[in-house]
């Protein structure tokens, strides 16, 4: 919703939050439900009411539990019947500098005393976090700490052992280190956010004394947006691609008119420097697994000329797709999406031209649009837009661009073969299909939570649930990794079924769209059947739950030879297969021996 896109108007959101909520609930979109407990060291009602808007806007329908004011420690460490009954799926601990009870009372305290206080403060939070994990085993989002806006001794407070600024810094290092060592623990960086808003605007002492609100009214939407982005990312709602215009977006001037020598890019001019900076910034996204594509009204030849400018930091090879033509930009984005096997709602589109932005906004409502009038506006919107909130970085993220480049090569090979089977054989594919191994858990969880299209049940899992499924004796859970002569695609498919007598109920079947039409689904089915036979299971029961995005697999079980036993009005269906006469279906992928050994 436009009102909730950065840069938003905080006063408008606060004032019209009822109407915004009503409009979101009536927009007919489907949402996943999540139970979120907010344990706060302040009155959290305002923050929660706005978090609700941002989450609804990103496909999550939250149900909230709010701890009583300043009962966050007791709720976390000792639990409460209400919170236990609520069974939180995620806990947000909303604390700030006001809750640093061990903050030194004067910069004159000794270094030893400051260290004692710091350890007491660390221990206090450590108890909270371990309490929650032991009790609820769910992801935790913790604010780090903003600086107290008042200090007695000027800059001395920032660096001396007992200074309030230095104490806050050391707590933040502690919070960060904890996050780096504990899966499912995420930091909401209000240290940065409060600086971006400005400490004077961020704090409102009267709102604290009157209502015990931790931050000012104007900062509430900023805070709520920031934490909602983390929750959204945990449930796999991030964008995946940045589609970029070229002229006056990646360089100054028009390449078709000004020529390679005429465009502004590089150290010679101020504008040239700004464009080079934004190119460097974008290059960093590429390295973390976000795809870059070009979407420009240009002759392709000219687009390449610009990207081969000696000062250009982004090169043609850095883009997963280059669309430089005269078609409407929304069509180009749709086509790129199709080629990459992604949805247009996974795209952020950036263009300096407001008219191009408008047409994409109108035609592709799910695509985020940045009107990049200047390079710094583009960097600001990418910084605060909330589209690329990282909650984990897996090996696969780091290799993604290589994988898509390899895909492009595969596509070019495809044309040379008479039959599709010949093409698949020529890829020399190898699959490893195995039980969940500890090193794979975060990738498996990520894949489970972000796959929308080739996903039969769209069931989502927390890291703890994934781990549990992998170990459960009542389940058969397998994941498959695929590689070929062009490269390793990593773990691309997850299948999991619950054993009930002689039947296996398939609760989870999904695959990355990167490996569509490679017969990987057959290899997974073969292995599933093999494991079922070992356990004396004679029948598979498959479920298809229809969503707005998974139409491509509505007949998957039918294509496997399952028999449909029911079909509901909503399009959900149940399927059955007797595996006694089952013959392996995969004939093109070589199955590799387990690298981790059999269980």
């Amino acid at each position: 919703m436009k009102e909730l896109e950065y840069p938003f108007d905080p006063a408008l959101i606060m004032r019209r939050r009822r109407a915004i909520k009503k409009a979101l609930l009536e927009d007919g979109s489907s949402r996943i439900k999540k139970r979120i407990a907010v344990l706060a060291g302040s009155t959290a009602d305002d923050v929660v009411s706005v978090m609700e808007l941002f989450l609804l806007d990103s496909g999550i329908e939250p149900e909230f539990y709010i701890s009583d004011y300043n009962r966050f420690y007791e709720d976390a460490v000792f639990g409460s019947p209400e919170l236990d009954a609520f069974r939180p799926e995620i806990v947000y601990i909303h604390t700030n500098w006001r809750n640093l009870a061990y903050m030194p009372q004067s910069p004159a305290e000794t270094a030893e005393r400051a260290e004692e206080l710091l350890e007491a403060q660390r221990d206090y939070f450590r108890q909270i976090w371990t309490g929650i994990v032991q009790r609820y085993g769910c992801p935790v989002v913790q604010n780090n700490f903003d600086y107290p806006p008042y200090r007695r001794a000027g800059s001395f407070e920032g660096w001396s052992a007992a200074g309030t600024g230095a104490f806050t810094d050391r707590m933040n290092v502690f919070v960060s280190e904890y996050a780096r060592h504990n899966n499912g623990f995420y930091v909401n960086d209000i240290s940065f956010l409060s600086a971006a808003v400005g400490l004077r605007q961020w704090n409102d002492p009267e709102a604290w004394h009157l209502y015990k609100n931790a931050v000012s009214r104007a900062a509430v939407p900023e805070l709520a947006f920031s934490v909602s982005n983390i929750i959204r990312s945990v449930y796999g709602r991030n964008k995946k691609v940045i589609a970029l215009d070229l002229d006056n977006t990646l360089w100054g001037g028009v390449i078709g008119d000004d020529g390679q020598e005429g465009i502004e890019l590089g150290q010679e001019t101020a504008a040239g420097q700004a464009f080079q900076e934004v190119q460097d910034f974008l290059g960093g996204y590429r390295k973390m697994g976000v795809l870059l594509t070009v979407c420009s009204k240009n002759e392709e030849e000219n687009a390449l000329l610009g990207l081969n400018h000696p000062e250009s930091r982004l090169r043609p090879d850095d883009f997963a797709a280059i669309k430089a033509n005269w078609l409407p930009k929304d069509e180009n984005i749709s086509q790129t999406a199709q080629e990459l096997g992604l949805l247009t709602e996974s795209f952020v589109f950036a263009d300096d031209n407001p008219a191009e932005c408008e047409i994409v906004r109108e035609q592709l409502p799910g695509t985020a649009v940045v009107n990049a009038e200047t390079p710094d506006i583009l960097m600001d919107r990418l910084t605060f837009g909330g589209w690329f909130e990282v909650t984990s970085l897996t090996e696969d993220d780091l290799k993604r661009n290589e994988q898509y480049a390899a895909n492009a090569k595969r596509l070019s090979q495809k044309k040379r073969f008479e039959s599709y089977g010949d093409y698949l054989l020529s890829l020399e594919m190898t699959a490893e299909i195995d039980s969940f191994q500890p090193v794979q858990l975060s990738r498996i969880t990520q894949l489970v939570n972000k796959s929308n299209q080739f996903n039969l049940t769209t069931k989502r899992l927390t890291p703890a649930q994934t781990e549990q499924l992998g170990k459960s004796p009542e389940h058969i859970a397998i994941c498959g990794r695929l590689s070929d002569k062009f490269g390793d695609s990593g773990i691309v498919s997850v299948v999991c079924g619950r054993i009930e007598g002689k039947s296996l109920h398939i609760e989870l079947w999904l695959m990355s769209c990167r490996v569509l039409k490679r017969d990987m689904e057959y290899a997974m089915l073969d292995e599933l059947v093999r494991r079922c036979r070992e356990r004396g299971i004679s029948e598979l029961v498959g479920y298809y739950y229809r969503t707005a995005k998974n139409a491509m697999v509505s007949e998957l079980y039918g294509s496997f030879g399952f028999e449909r036993v029911s079909l509901s009005d909503s399009g959900d269906s149940v399927w059955r297969l007797d595996i006694n006469g089952y013959k392996n279906k995969n004939h093109v992928i070589k199955i590799k021996e387990y690298s981790y050994g059999q269980e």
């Binding site: 009822r18 305002d46 009157l210 009214r217």
Partner: protein, 81 residues
């Protein structure tokens, strides 16, 4: 500030905050007259009025105002827009 105009704009704020387009406030309107006017919405209401008129209520005024008429008096005195 013109008091009638202030009352009209106050009605607009109330309509947004309580999500009810039928609200028209008068001098004698109190929290008893509006169903959703509880302590939590009171905080949002005060903030929205402050945003609308570019002013701040003093801490003792926030919980001390008897009715909308008193609120309008303070806005007339200190409103900046």
């Amino acid at each position: 500030m013109d008091r009638n105009e202030v009352m009209e704009r106050l009605s607009g704020v109330f309509r947004d905050v309580f999500g009810d387009s039928s609200i028209t406030v008068t001098d004698s309107t109190t929290s008893d007259d509006i169903e959703d006017w509880d302590s939590i919405e009171h905080i949002n209401l005060i903030g929205a009025v402050e945003d609308e008129f570019g002013m701040r209520f003093k801490m003792r005024e926030v919980s001390g105002m008897k009715n909308v008429g008193e609120m309008a008096d303070i806005v007339c005195q200190r409103g900046t827009r």
